[in-house]
Amino acid sequence: MDLTLKVWRQKDKNSPGQMVTYPVKGISPDMSFLEMMDVLNEDLLRKGEDPIAFDHDCREGICGMCSLYINGRPHGPERGTTTCQLHMRHFKDGDTITIEPWRAAAFPVHKDLVVDRSAFERIQQAGGYISVNTGGVPDANAIPIPKSIADKAFDAATCIGCGACVAACKNASAMLFVSAKVSQLAMLPQGKAERKTRVENMVAQMDIEGFGACSNTGACAAECPVGISMENINMLRSEYLYAKATSENI
């Protein structure tokens, strides 16, 4: 099929960007969206033009590297799907497709469709861990964890850190991302010891990074490619309230 792509091009962080239109021809419906982008990039290269920079790596939907805001939706029109797992059969011959980077003040553009998500890293560094050193830990079966809790913790732990939740939110809030880690570790007995400081520190860092406030629209969970649920945000709120009400850090 033949398509028209409108793609955000931006030379670097400090240059202004603009939408540029590219026709692409002979796209197979079995191609993935990123393979379609590869085809366009090969064409651009042969013409001696700069190919479009976009983030991607595993192309299996698990590394969280790919992004792309496609026709106004993070990771495109299919629910529960990363851009790398989106296939062209979900588009029609003659379609015009708009492709933009994640849009959030906390995710500045490096180039074209590549954004800087290091704010997520700093939030994780603020407390997204259990403080154990290598070695000297108890036997893995020493603490039984009910299956239902292990399963729920797992559901939260599947966050791939792609940033679609931030891109989907009108306030560019990172609440879903932060809540996934907070609730995973708050649910597990191993994570209880640092339960209060973790949520306090991670939320404080989230605010420092300039993410917006959460107004509970649920756009984040609706667009999350791995189905992280709004329940985690509820849990984050109650964890935060509990921590602040009993905090030793005031």
Partner: protein, 644 residues
């Protein structure tokens, strides 16, 4: 050069404990005087960097992705082996050791593999303490499942996302050290050269992938945990960015590269659907527990099916060939990966393959669905069936999956001794980047085990032994050795940018992948390998004459990044062919058609080839020099693997 594997004396079961006692220690106050560089942040790199930081060393960690959490360990599906014997089914450290040695077709070092089995139990404890949500039974204890090549259930798992959960565990430990300031993290930074001073590894040269800036970093020791080289085939289950550049440039500085021809071709992947294909997706080995593999009995039926003249259901039961069940009645569809892959190729070569290209076989769940019902099958494999449908637009509940083998893992890598140190003092290699534990074939759920064993439990001991003997003095990055390496990197980049030819980097990469897959893939022979060697040389010459790299160095330049990686693959490919050509036997993932039993099984030659082939660089286009490390088997008896 004499290869000293430095395997400790004494009984197999006591070597590691004795060695840990004998290694020199660095006292806590002195650890902060040493700097360690870790390149790569997958399971091996992240766990090593975090553990070094906890011990008190100053660590610099590097990855080319935008976050350490993106490393391709994240995509591992099935699980991680450990000799916990929680199931009371007769597992033990010795049994895990034995299965791994045998699974590797007797081409790995006994002492390394035994240590791997020993520390496997500690890995599970460590991961649970970090909050890794492994699968659990209703009683709250950890669940296990079984995997290929073993008769016990020793595989720990987190649904089909075990690699993700383990990596996020190691990543969280790494983050904690970054927050403490013990690890400085450099994402979007790619290592392009190794720096040696007085014969020791003392640093690296990197390129900042955002600004293009070439920078040097100095340290007392360098750890490469940069993964495997499966992308030499262009199409593989590796991530798009997975590359061999760090390891390769270390090879060109004198590190030996061991067993490069040992590559693992995984039997159950989604087949190629067109020229535009950028990567291949694995369907977990666990599917072969319930799926039956078949192709039409005759070439004529297969042709009709491919032309669309008949439908799958028009093929009567007696016209189907369940070839694995027919040839290997004892193991059936659960033969090891190398055997299953080779047989799929065999039936496709006979013209009996299915799908538009004829390069696929069926994996059929109809019997299992009839037997257990669709909900039971969905509960076991739902996420895999969904992924298959997403990619192929075919519903595997209604028609069989089409699968074909794909390059998945490389057992070869940088040669290391028992301490995981290469032959260059101060240069270590861990995880898939080294050659050490899997011999000629890796068993399922063992890659995660090895990555974490190396990073959490081996390197933290062995690197201290080396550092304890090192002076504290740092080498400044304006030392001539750093300047020379920087200039080398700048020269390569300038050369790539100045060619301005007609063919794209991907074009060359695809051409190389084609040669490798045809002549150095699932089945190899001397004639084909000789031909491949010439073809690769020709292709490499053409690359340096006619490649087209646009833009400049001082920017985010995706073409320049790729060009560097493909330039190295074009040299590595030749070494793989060289190794495959010299190894006149078949073993594990290396199948030479000249060396097979009358039943088409791999024929090993223990008399002449029970050694590690470690290759020394002598210049691009020159034949490398072979060094042999004899493998001594004192605790297992070498036997022919049979699955009939």
């Amino acid at each position: 050069m004499i290869l000293d594997s430095k395997i400790p004396e004494g009984a197999l079961a006591e070597k590691w404990d004795k060695h840990k006692f004998n290694v020199k220690l660095v006292n806590p106050a002195n650890k902060r005087k040493y700097d360690i560089i870790v390149v790569g942040t997958g399971l091996a790199g992240a766990s090593a960097a975090a553990s070094f930081g906890e011990l008190g060393y100053n660590v610099k960690a590097f990855c080319f992705q935008d976050s350490p959490r993106r490393a391709h360990s994240i995509a591992a599906q099935g699980g991680i082996n450990a000799a916990k014997n929680y199931q009371n089914d007769g597992d033990s450290i010795f049994r895990l050791f034995y299965d791994t040695i045998k699974g590797g077709d007797y081409r790995a070092r006994e002492a390394n593999v035994y240590r791997l089995a020993q520390v496997s139990v500690d890995i599970i404890d460590q991961c649970v303490a970090q909050g890794v949500p492994f699968a659990r039974e209703y009683g709250g204890l950890l669940a296990n499942r079984s995997f290929g090549g073993a008769q016990v259930s020793r595989t720990f798992y987190a649904r089909g996302q075990t690699g993700q959960q383990l990596l996020l565990g190691a990543y969280s430990a790494l983050n904690r050290q970054i927050a403490y300031g013990k690890v400085k993290m450099y994402p979007r930074t790619e290592m392009l050269d190794l720096v040696m001073v007085d014969g020791k590894a003392r640093g690296i040269v990197v390129r900042n992938l955002i600004t293009g800036k070439i920078e040097s970093h100095s340290a007392h020791a360098v750890v490469l945990a940069t993964g495997g080289y499966g992308n030499v085939f262009y199409l593989s289950t590796n991530a798009m960015g997975s590359n061999a550049t760090a390891a390769w440039r270390a090879y060109k500085k004198g590190a030996l590269f061991a067993n490069p021809c040992y590559t693992q071709i995984h039997p159950t992947c989604i087949p190629v659907s067109g020229d535009y294909q950028s990567k291949l997706t694995l369907m977990s080995e666990s599917l072969r527990n319930d799926g039956r593999v078949w192709v039409p009995k005759t070439k004529e039926t297969a042709e009709k099916l491919r032309r669309g003249e008949i439908k799958i259901n028009d093929i009567a039961e007696q016209d189907r060939d369940y070839y694995l069940e027919r040839k290997y009645p004892a193991f059936g569809n659960l033969v090891p990966r190398d055997v299953a892959s080779r047989n799929a190729k065999l039936v496709c070569d006979e013209g009996r393959g299915v799908g538009a290209s004829g390069l696929a076989v069926f994996l059929d769940f109809a019997d299992a669905i009839r037997r257990e019902g669709q909900p039971a099958i969905a509960a076991k494999y739902g996420n895999l069936f969904d992924m298959y449908e997403k990619i192929t637009d075919e519903n595997p509940y209604e028609q069989p999956m089409r699968i074909y083998p794909a390059v998945h893992y490389t057992m070869g890598g940088l040669w290391v001794d028992y301490n995981l140190m290469t032959n260059i003092p101060g240069l270590y290699a861990a995880g898939e980047a080294n050659f050490s534990d899997h011999g000629a074939n890796r068993l399922g759920a063992s890659a995660l085990m090895q990555g974490l064993a190396d990073g959490y439990f081996v390197l933290p001991y062995t690197i201290g032994d080396y550092l304890a003997k090192m002076p504290y003095d740092k080498v400044a990055v304006d030392h001539p050795a750093f300047k020379e390496a920087e200039q080398n990197v700048i020269d390569i980049n300038n050369r790539l940018l100045s060619i301005q030819g007609n063919r794209t980097v991907d074009d060359f990469h695809k051409a190389l992948g084609h040669i490798m897959w045809e002549y150095c893939g699932m089945a190899r022979n001397a004639e084909g390998l000789q031909f491949a060697k010439q073809e690769i040389r020709k292709l490499r010459d053409e690359f340096w004459r006619d490649v087209k790299v646009v833009g400049v160095n001082e920017e985010l330049n995706i073409t320049l990044e790729k060009a560097n990686r493909v330039a190295d693959f074009l040299e590595l490919g030749e070494l793989m062919v060289e190794d495959a050509l010299h190894r006149n036997e078949s073993c594990g993932g290396h199948f030479r058609e000249e060396y097979q039993t009358p039943e088409n099984e791999a024929l090993r030659d223990d008399e002449n080839f029970a050694y590690v082939a470690a290759w020394e660089f002598t210049g691009v286009g020159n034949d490398p020099v072979l060094h042999k490390e004899e493998l001594k088997f004192e605790n297992v008896k070498l036997t022919q693997r049979s699955y009939k």
